[in-house]
Each structure stands twice: as C-alpha cells, then as structure tokens.
C-alpha cells in the first residue's frame, strides 16, 4: 500500500508540473480531472503488472513446494520397497521383510487348560500346558518354510519343520515334517478347533509325519488335492523321527468346495475323500495304535504280544458346511491293520482288523460373526476393559462314535481293559475376547461297550475342560 500511495503521488506531481511548463494558463477543473483519470489508468496498469509478477512468483514457489512434497512421497514409497521393514499385526504376528522378497514371520500359540474329571476317572484334575508353540515362518521367492517346536511337554519336540516349494498355485511341494493330508479335523489349526480336544475320528487319522507332499489348488481354487509319501504314523499319533520299519505310507486327499467361486450366498460347502496305505511291521506303541477318549484317557490298546504285520489302510469321507453364524462338520474314518499274534496264546494267528469312527459337530456364533473352518476369525466388537465390546460367543456341540473290530477280542485285545466301542457327546462355549485371545469351556461325556472286568462296561467318562488360548 505505501508503494501504491507513493506511485500515485509521484504520478500526480509529474502530471501537474509539465502542465504548468507547457501551458502558462491555469488548467480548468475538467482538464485536471481528465489528466488524473488518465494517470489513474496508467497507475492501475503498472500495479497490475506488478501484482501479476508477484502472483506468478508466488505461484511458482507454491508449485515447487508441492512438487517437492510429491517427490518426497515417491521417494518414501520407493524406499518402502527397498528397505527392510518390521511390522507387527494382531492377525499375522511379527513380520520382517527385506528387499528381494525375503520375509520372516514370528507367530505363536499358547494354550493353558484346567481339567476336571468326575469321580471314578483314573485321570487327575489339574492344570495343563497343552500347547506352547512359537512358530517361525519365512518365504523367499518360490521357497518358504515353517518351524514350530512344541515346548509344552517335559521335553521339547518338533511339530512342524518343512520347506514348501511353490512352483504354482496348482503345484506345491512340501518336504519335511507336516500334517499328512488326511483327517479334516486334524488338518484344522489347533487354535481353531471348536472343542478343547479333537473328536473320535481323529484317533484313527495319522498326525504329523515326515515325508514329501505335492499339493495344489485347481479349478479356480475350488478343488484342492494333496498326495504324499511318508515314513508312516500310527493312528492318532505323529510319526517318529526315523522310519522304524523301512516301510512307507502313501496318503492322498481330494477336497472340493463347489461354491468357492460362486457369487451366490450359498455358504461354504466342502466335501472330501482321502486314503492312506502302507505296510508296517513291528510290535509296540510305534506300530500299533492306542485309542483315547475325548478326556485323553486310553480306552483301547492291543495286547503286548500283538504285532503289526502287514498293510495299514485308512479311508475317510469328510465335509463341512458353514453359512452365516452356523456351521457343521462331519467326518467318517476307517482304519484297518494286518496284525499277528507274536507269542503266547494263538501265536502266529493273523487277522485284518478294521476300526471305524465318525462324528458330527456344529457351532452357532451367538454374537453374529461368521462361523468357519478357522473358527471366529475376528470378533466384531472385541472385548475391552471399560469399553462396550464383549467379543464373540460361540456355542459348540459334538457327537461321535468309535468302534473296534469285534474280531480284536479276545485274541488281540483284552476285553477287560479295552472297550469295543465308545460314544461321546460334548457341549462347549467359546468366548473370543479378541482376535488373539479365546476362552473355552467344554463338557464331554463318554460311554463304552465293554472295557471292564467280567464283560461289564467301562464307567462313563465325564470331564469339564477349560482353556485360555493366546494366538498371534
């Protein structure tokens, strides 16, 4: 503004002085007004140019600042792709990513149980660290790995230790110790099962085993297949660290989710079949199974003079259906084993014994979240002290049976200590406080055919299990 006033005064002065010099007569008022108007017009042009220049300079400076911010953002984005990054996520655990596609993750699962049995059980009430499983996963190009030790027992063991070579979504090779592609509930994550312990069919399914597996998704991911060669594992148990008899076990599974690529709201349906076959030769727990109740008490075992001596064949039909808050899972497994009386009464007698089990279990998420094979993945309103959220609640129920081949008695198993059949039902309430923390309460009851002295039935098992689970 001072500049404008100065310019105006100067302009008026310059305008008036030459008028005196050029014309000795006094100018008329009209002439002066006309001159002032002309000068104001010229002044406005000068000011306009000045302001335009200033605006252009400010505009350029603003553009430069904006461009530098843009370049900084680009540089930050580029750096993110080349720098090592550390990320902590409630669902995915701790992750370190390095340039070149190398990624290492740390995850964990901790399960602490309190278990109570009704009078008459041989099991003791008590607290149990059921699972303590830190997991290291990594990937680099087509290769990835997983190492999961089990630290809950008296000595540490390895649950999973394998390398995956992912050539294509349709073909991935897994080498090492991992779950064999067989039992539906066995293949479920330990953190996701609806009940504290697995159902009766899983007693007949192989656990983790060492071998090589080819698996993949075809038909747009709707059909999953897995085939593998393993050392061989007895029913319901993990394989040993070495092949005890030099025989291999072949396992294959097909699982179809027909609605996977459907846009309709038909829910998630999965149907599968699987089989395993292989010879096993030897006696003792490493070769012949022992079956457990849902309370983890043994109710069947072969006699100490019995040996596995030939083929072990398993087959299963399995499926699940989840829609909205409801879900149901069912599974039937048959396991047959060639056995021989190694010594004592009937020595040399051979037989093929076939045991089978089935179960159906269901769940209903009371708080409205979707039910699924992976459990309730994320509560809509996580529990928070002083907050409004209470997490997610799920009711779960299960019924199942397991029958031992009647031919097992009395030559291959003692009817006074091993039951010929077990029926079990259970009810559970799962409280997912957050995505990572779950509390579980189960009541299970099992009844038996046989298994006690003088042909009597073994006493019912009644057990109340509770669990606190942290997973990330």
């Amino acid at each position: 503004m001072p500049l404008k006033r100065t310019l105006l005064a100067l302009a008026i002065g310059l305008a008036v002085l030459p008028a005196h010099a050029a014309n000795p007569r006094d100018p008329t008022t009209l002439e002066l007004l006309a001159r002032i108007a002309a000068l104001e017009e010229r002044l406005a042009a000068v000011e306009g140019h000045y302001e335009t220049t200033q605006v252009a300079e400010v505009d350029q400076r603003l553009r430069v600042v904006e461009r530098k911010q843009e370049l900084q953002a680009e540089a930050d984005a580029a750096r993110a792709t080349t720098a090592t990054t550390l990320a902590l996520d409630a669902g995915k655990g701790l992750s370190v990513k390095a340039p070149g596609g190398l990624e290492v993750k740390l995850r964990g699962l901790l399960q602490g149980d309190a278990r109570f049995f009704a009078n008459g059980s041989s099991q003791n009430d008590g607290f149990l660290l059921r699972r303590v499983e830190p997991t290291i996963e990594g990937s680099w190009g087509i290769a990835s790995f997983r190492i999961t030790p089990q630290l809950a027992g008296d000595s540490a063991t390895i649950n999973d230790a394998y390398i995956d070579l992912k050539f294509d979504p349709r073909a991935s090779v897994r080498i090492g110790k991992a779950k064999a592609p067989f039992g539906l509930e066995r293949l479920q994550s330990s953190a996701s099962t609806a009940q504290v312990e697995l159902g009766l069919p899983s007693e007949l399914a192989p656990g983790r085993d060492i071998g090589v597996q080819l698996s993949g998704d075809v038909a747009g991911g709707a059909l999953n297949y897995g085939i593998g060669v393993y050392n061989g594992a007895v029913d319901g148990r993990d394989g040993l660290t070495a092949n005890p008899d030099g025989e291999f076990e072949y396992v294959g599974r097909l699982f179809w989710e027909p609605f996977k690529n459907s846009a309709s709201n038909a829910g998630t349906l999965g149907i599968g079949v699987a089989a395993s076959v292989g010879d096993t030769v030897g006696s003792g727990n490493n070769f012949l199974p022992r079956y457990r109740t849902p309370g983890q008490e043994q109710f069947f075992g072969y006699g100490s003079n019995i040996a596995a001596d030939g083929e072990r064949l398993r087959q299963t039909v399995q499926g699940y259906y989840y829609r909205g808050t409801f879900g149901v899972l069912g599974e039937w497994i048959e396991s047959s084993q060639d056995v021989r009386v190694a010594s004592g009464t009937g020595a040399g007698t051979r037989a093929t014994l076939r045991n089978d089990a089935w179960q159906i279990s269901g769940g209903w998420v009371l708080t409205g979240e979707d039910a699924g094979y992976r459990g309730v993945v994320k509560p809509s309103s996580p529990f928070a002290i002083g907050g409004d959220g209470w997490g997610a609640l799920e009711l779960a129920a299960r019924y199942g049976r397991l029958e031992i081949d009647e031919g097992a008695f009395p030559l291959f198993a003692n009817a006074a200590s091993s039951a010929q059949a077990i029926r079990s039902w259970g009810l559970g309430l799962n409280w997912y406080l957050t995505q990572n923390f779950k509390l579980v309460t189960n009541y299970t009851q099992a009844s038996f055919d046989g298994g006690a002295a003088a042909g009597a039935d073994r006493a019912d098992e009644k057990a109340l299990f509770t669990r606190a689970q942290l997973s990330f």
Partner: protein, 343 residues
C-alpha cells in the same frame, strides 16, 4: 475280520502311481515360457513398449518360442544400483556406459569388455540434449548462457541419480569451456545455473513431469527424444517449443546382457537376440520413430531421419576423455558437481 484285499491293492497302486508322478508334476509346473527383464532408464518407456512386442513376434516366428519381456524404468544410476542390489535384469539398456561399467566393476555381473560385444560400442541409438521452452519462448532463452541468468527457472534431474542429467551437465560444461576458457569461470557458470534449478528430480521422466505437467520452470534440459515426444503428444502439442543450443553433446545410451543373470535364468540366447534386434532394420526404424537417432541410419527411411535437426555435438571421449574419467572428476564424491551444487 473282514478282508478287502482287492480294494486295498487297487488303492495302493493308485496312490503309489500318484506319488511317483510327483516329480513330473513339479517339473511341469516349472516349465514356463522364457521371460526377459529389461532394466532401462527413464524416457525409453514408449520405445521399449513397442520394441518388446516386435521382438517377441520376431522371435516367435524364428524359433517358435514364446518370450515375455518385462521392463523396469527409472533414473539410470538408480537402476544400475538396483541391479547390483539384486534386481535380476537379463538385459540393461541404460543412459550411459558408466552405469553399466558399475555393474561390471562393483557387481561383477558382466565382463569389463561388455561394450565391445555389440556394434557401435553397444549403443544402437543416440540422442542429444536440447532445450524445451514454453510456447513463444517468453524468457527469450537461446543458448546455454541464458540458463544462468537471474530469474530463469531451469529444470534438470539430479546428476547423481540420472544419466540424462549427467549428459545435461556435461553439455553445459562443454559450452562453458568453449565460452570462458577458464576453469573457475566454468564452475562459476554451472554454479549459477544450478542455483536456477528449483527441483532436482531423480530421472529425466520426472523432470518432464515437473516442467510439462506441473508447470514449473522456464526451460527443461531434455533428451532430444523426450522433447520431441512432448511436442508430438496431443495433450501438450502447441504449448512448448524446442530450442537447439549452439553446442550439445552426443549421448550414447548403451545396452548389454547381464551375464550372471542370464546364466541363472537360462536366457543368454534370448537376451543377446533381443539386443541384436535393436540393430535390425525394424529395431532402428522403431528407435527413430520414438525419436532416437539410429546408429545405422542407412537402415531407416529418410522421412524418419528428417525430424532430427542439425546440432553441433561434442563427444564424451573427445571433450571429457571418456566416461570413466568424466564420472570420477565430475560426479564422484567430492567431484565438481559436489562443489557446484549444495542442496
């Protein structure tokens, strides 16, 4: 007791057969078509997009093999560092030989004599540096001296990261050397010039964005091909014009296959054929179409050559003693550029 021996035998044989087929499955899954990664500098995007299709078709016709070509673009120096850091380029087509020399000396990814493996010092096309100014040239910019005047906004990328920027810098140095014939005056001139640079992009394409799209500055020091591309773009046509300075520099962007990576990928044959196709009549014509001066102009129709104006050009070898010397003296740590430009 139940016997199912037949069923078991069948099932066992089936599973055994599937298990035996496992390695074959894995092998099939890995049996993909060949793929080449071309790591290039900033302004070659449009050229290689078209060239890659032409080569893939030519290779398919000659060999029956399908080859897919991926391209990565960025500031030339930055791209070279990425390759050293693990970006597995099968071929590099960078802005200057110093950036490929680094792959040989620091990365040990190809032999030191890589430049002798292909004709014309492995430079199948050349370019030069010109000025792109706003329509009507409102600041009256005619030659290099005008760039150092107060109030002129000069847009050029950072010579530390961009090959094009190093050519820009050396062209300005060549003019100043001829103009002042005094080292201090030359440095003084370049210092004033770089004081007029408001934004240092990392690559030539970024500088074009700064000047053309963001409207910053009065003059863009540009690859000739980048300037001609801007003039021929429908969205920017009529908004800019080219000023050819009294002297410029002959920019020779070289190409090479990266021996270590092609050996790892099994793509040595395809990579060499890809680069030799640049020297074919088709490759040379495509280069000219995208405003690069072909190294073998006799293979290109005269109409395509007519678009390139006469420019007096110095060469890197003649004016600066080669890239190795120029790189060390001007762009190495503590070199002239570090004295000239203080961020």
């Amino acid at each position: 007791m139940k016997t199912h021996h037949d069923t078991r035998t069948t099932l066992r044989n089936l599973l055994f057969g599937m298990a035996l087929a496992l390695p074959a499955f894995a092998g099939l899954a890995n049996g993909k078509d060949k793929e080449l990664l071309n790591v290039s500098y900033d302004p070659t995007r449009e050229f290689y997009a078209e060239f890659n299709k032409a080569f893939a078709a030519d290779w398919k016709a000659k060999t029956g093999e399908t080859v897919a070509i991926r391209a990565s673009h960025g500031g030339s120096g930055k791209q070279a560092r990425s390759v050293i850091d693990g970006l597995e380029a099968d071929v590099v087509t960078l802005a200057l030989s110093a950036d490929i020399d680094v792959l040989a000396t620091n990365g040990k990814l190809l032999p030191a004599n890589w430049q002798a493996r292909l004709p014309h010092n492995s430079a199948p096309y050349t370019s030069t540096i010109v000025f792109l100014v706003r329509k009507g040239n409102p600041k009256g910019i005619k030659d290099w001296g005008d760039l150092a005047k107060p109030g002129i906004g000069v847009i050029t990328p950072n010579p530390k990261t961009s090959g094009g920027a190093r050519w820009n810098y050396l062209a300005a140095w060549a003019w100043a050397s001829r103009e002042y014939r005094d080292g201090d005056k030359v440095v003084g001139y370049l210092t004033r010039l770089f004081k007029n640079v408001p934004v240092l992009d990392t690559g030539a394409r970024g500088s074009t964005t700064t000047f053309v799209e963001r409207g910053i500055g009065d003059v863009l020091l540009a690859w000739e091909n980048e300037a001609l591309l801007t003039l021929n773009d429908a969205s920017t046509r009529g908004k800019f014009e080219i000023v050819v300075p009294s002297i410029s520099i002959k920019a020779e962007p070289p190409v090479a296959w990266v021996d270590k990576n092609v050996a790892k990928h099994g793509t040595r044959k395809q990579a060499e054929a890809y680069l030799r196709f640049l020297y074919s009549a088709k490759g040379q014509a495509l280069a000219a179409k995208h405003f690069y001066r072909p190294a073998e102009p006799d293979k290109v129709p005269a109409a395509l050559l007519a678009q390139f104006p006469e420019v007096s050009q110095v060469t890197i070898d003649g004016a600066f003693g080669g890239w190795k010397k120029a790189q060390a003296e001007h762009f190495g740590d503590g070199g002239f550029f570090d004295r000239i430009y203080k961020p």
